[in-house]
C-alpha cells in the first residue's frame, strides 16, 4: 500500500507540474478584460502540487505491511482487463484498419470469457454469445436508434 500511495502522490505531482507548465504558456495572470485562460488551471494545479507533497510525506511516514495487490488478486484482475482491451481493439482498432464492430466483438468477448474463465459448456457459450448481441442490437439500433460501431457482418445483413 505504501509504495502505491507514494507512486500515486508522485504521479499527481507530475500531473500538476504539467498543468502548471501549460497554464503558464497560456498566461496565468490578468489580461485587460479578466483572468487569462491559464489562471484557473494554474491555481488548481498549484494547490494539487501542495496537497500531493503532503500526501507523499504522509505515505512516507506511514507503514503498512499489506501489499497493494497479492499475486492471485492481480491475476484475477488482469484476466478481466486484457480481454477487455482485446474486445475494444476488436471492435475498432485505432489506425486505418477496420474492426468487427461492437456487436460481433462483444459476442466473441462474451463467448471467450465464458469458456475461458467460467468453463461453461459450448452449447451455453454459443447460445448466449449469439442471443445477447442480437437482443442488444435490436434494443439499440432498431428501437432507440442509437448507432454503434458496425463491421462487415452487420453490413452483410444490410445495416
Amino acid at each position: 500500500m505504501r509504495v502505491a500511495d507514494l507512486v500515486t502522490a508522485s504521479l499527481l505531482m507530475l500531473l500538476s507540474a504539467i498543468v502548471m507548465y501549460d497554464a503558464l504558456l497560456l498566461g496565468a495572470g490578468w489580461s485587460g478584460d479578466g483572468p487569462q485562460s491559464g489562471f484557473f488551471p494554474f491555481w488548481l494545479a498549484a494547490l494539487l502540487a501542495a496537497v500531493s507533497i503532503v500526501l507523499f510525506v504522509q505515505a512516507w511516514r506511514s507503514w503498512s505491511k499489506q501489499p497493494f495487490v497479492t499475486r492471485e488478486q492481480s491475476v484475477l484482475v488482469l484476466k478481466v482487463l486484457w480481454p477487455l482491451v482485446g474486445f475494444v481493439l476488436l471492435t475498432d482498432p485505432p489506425g486505418p484498419w477496420s474492426g468487427l464492430g461492437l456487436y460481433v466483438a462483444g459476442a466473441v468477448y462474451l463467448g471467450f470469457y465464458m469458456r475461458w474463465v467460467g468453463r461453461h459448456d459450448w452449447r451455453t457459450v454459443v447460445a448466449l454469445a449469439t442471443v445477447v448481441p442480437v437482443i442488444t442490437f435490436l434494443i439499440f439500433e432498431t428501437w432507440f436508434l442509437v448507432p454503434m460501431p458496425k463491421g462487415p457482418i452487420e453490413a452483410w445483413f444490410g445495416y
Binding site: P41, V51, L76, L84, L110, H120, F144, M148
Partner: protein, 506 residues
C-alpha cells in the same frame, strides 16, 4: 401556488406513457442496483443516450425511476448477500444480513423497502414545499453567490466526507483540472491538449462515471474473488403484512432518520454519513442496544430511511440551483443540458411543466417502486445467481455501449478503460471518486462563476466575503474546509480521547 403546480405536475406524470416509463425505469433500476459494478450513477449514465430522442419530461422520469430502483436494489444485495451495492447500504448489512441468515429475510427486506419509501416520501414532501422557495431566492444570486455555493459543495466533501481529507481535496482538484482540458469557450484558446486533436473535446464526465464506477467496480469485485452466497428469500404477502404491523412501533426512528437523511442529504456526499449517523442514533436511543448488529429490525429501518431521504434530498440542489448533490444527480444534470434545458432556478420560470412533472413523478415513482420490489424480490435476487463469468463480460459490453453512445466516438471507450483502471487504483487507496465526478461536471460552471466574480471585483477575492449572501456561504465553506484541522484540536480542548477525523464510522 404550490398545490396548483403540483396538480399540474401530476397531470404530466400520470399519463399512461409516463407511468409505463416509470415502471420500466424502476425495473431496470432495480436490476442495475442488484448487479455488481452497476450502481445508480453509471446505470443512469449508460442509459442516458437512450433518452436523447424522448421528450425531456419522460426522459427525466425514466432516469429518476432508474435511480429509485437502484436505491431499492442496493437493499436487496445488502440484506440477502451481505454485499452493499452502494456505500450508503453498508449500514443496512449490519442487521439486515444477520436477519436473513436467521431466516427472517422477508421481514428485513419488507422493513428495508418500507423504510426507504417513508424516507423518500418525507424528502419529496419537503422538496415540494421548499424547492419553489429556494429557486426564488436563487434567482437573485449572482456569480459570487454561485461560486460560493460551489465552494460549499466541495468543502462538505473535505469536512464531512470521512477518510483522509487531503485525498478528497486531491480528487476534487483532479476533477476540476480534467474539466479544463480542451477549448476554453471564453478566450477560444486550447488548454492542456498538447497538440492532440482527440483532447480538444475534453473529457466527458459521463464516460468518467461509467469508467470509474462501472469498470473500476468490476475490477474490485473480481479481485475480492466474487462468491455470491446469498440467503434464501421467504417473501410472501403474509410476511409483508406481519412486518407492516410491527413497523409503526418504530415511528420515532422513522421521523428521526428522515430528518437526519434530509438534512445531510441536500449537501453533497451526505447519504453515506446520514445512514451511519441514523444507525448510531437508533442504537443509542434503543432500549436494547446490545441487539444491534445481530439482527435487530430497527437496525435496518434507521439506515434505510436516512439513506433514501438523503438520496431524494440530493435532487433539491440540482433542480433549484443547478448543483447536483450526488454523482447520480450530476449525470441527470448532464441530461438536462443535452435535452436543451438550462439547469438552475430559471427552470421553475421557463419550464414549470418539466419541474413539476419531475416532482410529481417522484411520488408516483416511489409508490410504483415499493410495490414492484416487494412483489418481485425473488426475481431480482435470482439475477445475482447468474454465473460470474457471464455477468462480467455482459456488464463490460453494456458499459462500452453506453460510453460510445454519448458522442459516437471510439476514443470514449478507451477513456472508459483508462478511467476504469484509475477508479480501481483510487478506490483501493481510499481516494474518493464522487468528488472527482462532481468537480468534472461543475468545472465549467465554477470557472465561469469565478471569472465573472473576479471581473466584477477587478481581481479581488474579497468579493466572496463582502457580499452578504456569498459571505455567509463562503464562511461556512471555509469552516468545513478547515474542519479536519479543527476537530483534533477541539477534542483535545474538551479532554476527549483522540480519534480519527470526523469519520463516518459509527
Amino acid at each position: 401556488m404550490g398545490l396548483e403546480n403540483l396538480f399540474l405536475g401530476f397531470q404530466v406524470a400520470v399519463t399512461p406513457f409516463n407511468l409505463l416509463i416509470a415502471v420500466v425505469g424502476i425495473l431496470l433500476g432495480t436490476i442495475i442496483g442488484v448487479l455488481p459494478g452497476l450502481g445508480g450513477a453509471n446505470g443512469v449514465a449508460i442509459l442516458l443516450p437512450l433518452t436523447f430522442t424522448m421528450p425531456p419530461t419522460s426522459a427525466i422520469i425514466l432516469l429518476t425511476c432508474i435511480y429509485w430502483g437502484a436505491l431499492f436494489g442496493g437493499a436487496i444485495t445488502s440484506v440477502l448477500f451481505n454485499i452493499p451495492g452502494e456505500p450508503w447500504s453498508v449500514a443496512t448489512t449490519f442487521d439486515g444480513y444477520p436477519m436473513a441468515k436467521d431466516g427472517q429475510s422477508g421481514q428485513a427486506l419488507t422493513a428495508a423497502f418500507t423504510s426507504s419509501f417513508v424516507g423518500a416520501f418525507f424528502s419529496i414532501v419537503l422538496i415540494t414545499l421548499f424547492a419553489p422557495l429556494l429557486a426564488e431566492v436563487a434567482l437573485k444570486f449572482g456569480p459570487p453567490e454561485f461560486f460560493a455555493i460551489q465552494l460549499l459543495t466541495f468543502s462538505s466533501f473535505v469536512g464531512l466526507g470521512g477518510g483522509n481529507p487531503l485525498k478528497s481535496l486531491a480528487t476534487i482538484l483532479i476533477g476540476f483540472i480534467l474539466s479544463t482540458v480542451g477549448l476554453d469557450i471564453v478566450t477560444g484558446q486550447l488548454r492542456l491538449t498538447f497538440g492532440f486533436t482527440d483532447l480538444m473535446k475534453g473529457f466527458d464526465f459521463i464516460i468518467a462515471v461509467i469508467g470509474l464506477f462501472g469498470i473500476g467496480e468490476i475490477l474490485l469485485s473480481v479481485e475480492e474473488g466474487l462468491r455470491f452466497q446469498g440467503a434464501k428469500t421467504d417473501m410472501n404477502m403474509r410476511v409483508v403484512l406481519d412486518t407492516w404491523k410491527i413497523l409503526p412501533r418504530y415511528y420515532r426512528t422513522f421521523v428521526r432518520s428522515s430528518i437526519i437523511g434530509f438534512w445531510m442529504g441536500f449537501k453533497p456526499g451526505g447519504a453515506t454519513p446520514a445512514s451511519f449517523m441514523s444507525y448510531a442514533f437508533a442504537k443509542r436511543f434503543s432500549k436494547n442496544p446490545e441487539r444491534f448488529g445481530r439482527g435487530e429490525l430497527e437496525g435496518v429501518v434507521a439506515p434505510e430511511t436516512a439513506a433514501h431521504a438523503a438520496g431524494v434530498a440530493a435532487m433539491l440542489p440540482m433542480i433549484t440551483l443547478g448543483i447536483p448533490g450526488s454523482p447520480t444527480a450530476a449525470v441527470m444534470l448532464g441530461g438536462l443540458i443535452i435535452w436543451g434545458l438550462q439547469p438552475g432556478p430559471m427552470l421553475f420560470v421557463d419550464n414549470p411543466d418539466f419541474v413539476w412533472g419531475l416532482i410529481a413523478s417522484m411520488y408516483t415513482g416511489n409508490v410504483i417502486g415499493v410495490v414492484i420490489v416487494l412483489a418481485f424480490v425473488p426475481f431480482f435476487a435470482a439475477i445475482l445467481r447468474i454465473p460470474f463469468a457471464i455477468l462480467t463480460p455482459l456488464i463490460v459490453v453494456i458499459c462500452a455501449i453506453g460510453s460510445y453512445a454519448v458522442h459516437n466516438s471510439m476514443i470514449d471507450i478507451w477513456y472508459m478503460v483508462i478511467f476504469g483502471v484509475i477508479g480501481y487504483v483510487f478506490k483501493k487507496l481510499d481516494y474518493p471518486l464522487a468528488p472527482l465526478v462532481l468537480a468534472l461536471v461543475l468545472g465549467d460552471m465554477a470557472e465561469n462563476a469565478l471569472r465573472q466574480s473576479l471581473i466584477m471585483s477587478q481581481g479581488s477575492l474579497a468579493i466572496f466575503l463582502t457580499r452578504p449572501i456569498s459571505g455567509v456561504i463562503t464562511a461556512v465553506a471555509i469552516f468545513f474546509f478547515l474542519m479536519p484541522l479543527l476537530t483534533p484540536w477541539w477534542r483535545k480542548l474538551r479532554g476527549l480521547p483522540r480519534s480519527k477525523a470526523a469519520s463516518a464510522q459509527s
